[in-house]
Subunit: 525 residues, 2 copies
Amino acid sequence: MIMTSFALYKCFKRGYTVYIPRKEFNMELNTAIEKYYKLQAKLAAYGHAMSLIYYDGSTTAPKDTAANRGRALSVLSEESYLLSTGKETVELLEFLDDHKKELSEKDARSVYLALKDIREMQKIPMDEYIEYQEVLVEADDVWHRAKEENNFAMFFPCLVKIFDFEKRFARYCAPDMHPYNYCLNKYEDGLTMEKCDKFFAALKSRIVPLIKKIGEKEQIDDSCIYGSFPASEQESFGLALMDVMGIDKGHCGLATTEHPFTTSLGSHHDVRITTNYKEDNFASSMFSVIHEGGHALYDMNSADELAYTNLDGGVSMGIHESQSRFYENLLGRSREFAEYIFPTVKKCFPSLEKYTAEDFYRAINKVEPSLIRVEADEVTYALHVMIRYELEKAVMNGDITVLDLPREWNRLYKEYLGVDVPSDKDGVLQDSHWSGGAIGYFPSYALGSAYGAQFLKKMRETVDVEKCLETGDFAPINEWNKENIWKHGCRYTPAELLDRILGEPFDPYVFTDYLEKKYGEIYGL
Amino acid sequence: MIMTSFALYKCFKRGYTVYIPRKEFNMELNTAIEKYYKLQAKLAAYGHAMSLIYYDGSTTAPKDTAANRGRALSVLSEESYLLSTGKETVELLEFLDDHKKELSEKDARSVYLALKDIREMQKIPMDEYIEYQEVLVEADDVWHRAKEENNFAMFFPCLVKIFDFEKRFARYCAPDMHPYNYCLNKYEDGLTMEKCDKFFAALKSRIVPLIKKIGEKEQIDDSCIYGSFPASEQESFGLALMDVMGIDKGHCGLATTEHPFTTSLGSHHDVRITTNYKEDNFASSMFSVIHEGGHALYDMNSADELAYTNLDGGVSMGIHESQSRFYENLLGRSREFAEYIFPTVKKCFPSLEKYTAEDFYRAINKVEPSLIRVEADEVTYALHVMIRYELEKAVMNGDITVLDLPREWNRLYKEYLGVDVPSDKDGVLQDSHWSGGAIGYFPSYALGSAYGAQFLKKMRETVDVEKCLETGDFAPINEWNKENIWKHGCRYTPAELLDRILGEPFDPYVFTDYLEKKYGEIYGL
């Protein structure tokens, strides 16, 4: 077929690149791309429905309706799975992949990611995959009960199976890779044990001594964050915080759940964050709103052209945590922000009238080795994560067995944090990650903190961050993050993105320097 | 193939009727039925997702996310449409329909209803159907603005199109039927203008004189329902009302929306009701909770075997309204219930301490001709509905045009209710039904009231309704409704169901007798 000038004109109008020698083929490619993004939009709609069903279950659904939701989720996830892995889809993806050099960078990346998922899925025998999903459903239930009853033995058989499946699937999908590296990669593309070892060694070398020095100093009086704070007033304060952070509430909602989380519905145009109110401690919900708000800003600010594709939203757990912890700690727990926000705090909670912004600043930065990761301060947090990393690595390596986990857990808590673990409930059973099969997830939390510190250093080259915080004007900060991080969605791998943002290698000592400076000043070291 | 005794045994165990001469075919039929209910379950999952997206939009979604929801809804409704009308489905349904005599009554009814929808859809040209959907999307928006600006001319072109489409579709789908009868049938299977005319004539003959007589008496002082009632306290009261009504809150939620409604998610196992709080009038939300609670009880109590099929939930708008208005008026506004509930009312709203249950009973039964249907009392309500019925019929008949509607509306309000309509905003533009294309819907409201009165009469033969209301024990009442109405879901047509319940013809005078007796006593006629 000879391409007529009219057809050429149409291609031009549509913004397609026209390669005359391959004109007929290009028409086909354009059709394939159109078809591909239609498929992506369909998958986004299924994603919308499934995320909303989950969100509904966590927020307002009547308590005995889980089985009914399960029915809908099972149908929708099967339909979505068939759609994304069906013969027609695979053929389309392979066709596009064969011609990836002719695709735009964006299209090629989207196709690559879609195909990557399918190719992995194809390597796992379907019956084993289904069996694992069933194990996970059971494990979630068993873990809840085991934690409640402080009974690791009850959870033990499930956890053995979970580690086994993870090892097996790693061998299927990446036979040339260490199984734990495969797990790490699922949450942070490109991460390895070698990188983690180096990273955590750096943190340990600086944080453990820092904690020791802090422990020798007089402890901070944090009584100003405690008192009686009705949930409804905390909610008003949370909404005000969202405004200060520059979160567009027209596209981001705030709800209450047992565990705070952030979710997007269908695209970055509808994001929901949740928090939980402790009526005796307003800081708990305050910082969970800021933390989830950081996730939300990242998700909400993908470029609009990425909406309804698999490139929409954050690229990895590490980068995601870098944003949430950036807002929560680097900004939210800074002296400048504490001084800016404290008048608002006092307006919302008049019982705090007698306290100063300095009291507040010190209270929200109290460092104290403790048992529970999610309640840990900025300094000790990374060590909680490191303990989990070391234990996961040891089990995946075969150095220890699942049976050894409680003992090893307690030993490491004593060694790194100096605390005695009184019970497995507050020890090895505290997190939901393992029962959900999320082996390899934890390091992204600590990486996020360290990425964030280096982003802040870079941001300071062009943005007067202190002034922004002093005046509560987050716009320049958000603008920098949007330009450098948010708008790219999943267009780049985490490593490529880091490279683009920093223009220099990742350096965990930027984070430890930050901690030493800030807490040295607070504790007078 | 010879059916072995084992296969026969299996068929027997499963409760299938086994026709030996057709044994091979019957196996096929069983497979088809299984396939059919799998399809129904899939459609229920899509329904769950779509209802939840709508519910989310009305309750907690951030305000600027409608377009994002629209994307998901458009994909899911298309997928669901393709699934329910695709070639494979139609073949399956036609196969089952060909063998309907061998199906159980339940299966045959389910297949009949599924096929009925498809056959209608097939008669409407796809492009016209899509055009109409677009008109409705626009009309919803235009109606909102026209109502706000009190500008019927603005809404007029949309309304002309809507009536035109309704007439055209009626001709396509039921060329032998009067177009308005076709419309009535959509909401109440079997309803005709002839039946409506007779029904409304009966109501008019008794209600118009009753209203006149009441108007000559001293008006009730209803000050006890007004005051200052915070939404949060009204919500607690609403939840308490749900308990009294015997609504299982483990499967039924209560939320806040602009307009109260009831929706089921996927099946009768998860139902949500909504209400709206007027902080100066607690009775408004109280009776909307009871009204929606009646809808919820009906939906929630389909037999479990109907879940995830098209037989789940209420059968028609008329029967549905009979239940909501039964709880709202026949029970909720009875003297016995007023006496039972008033101590709870006073506990929730201590400012009412000085009032008696009798004050309360009279206040919630004040009869006053007014402009707005949704705020009308039990007596005048049916006349509001009748006016809409007469106008719809006249337009569908060609007796008047859409342009005449405001004038005719105002004339009938004066004639039947004796009120002057000051503006179209509070007149012809007040309801959302027409902008949503729901021509033929209104009569079901009045029918529901009248059905309910006759159900109550029947119920009294075996249930001591007064005692139930005096003691707040709704169990015997609910049990009767469940056995006679709720559990059947859509197994029977509305006419068949009425017949089963009443065992005698529908008699609108039971309703007017009830009104005359109750209000004669209240107003001392």
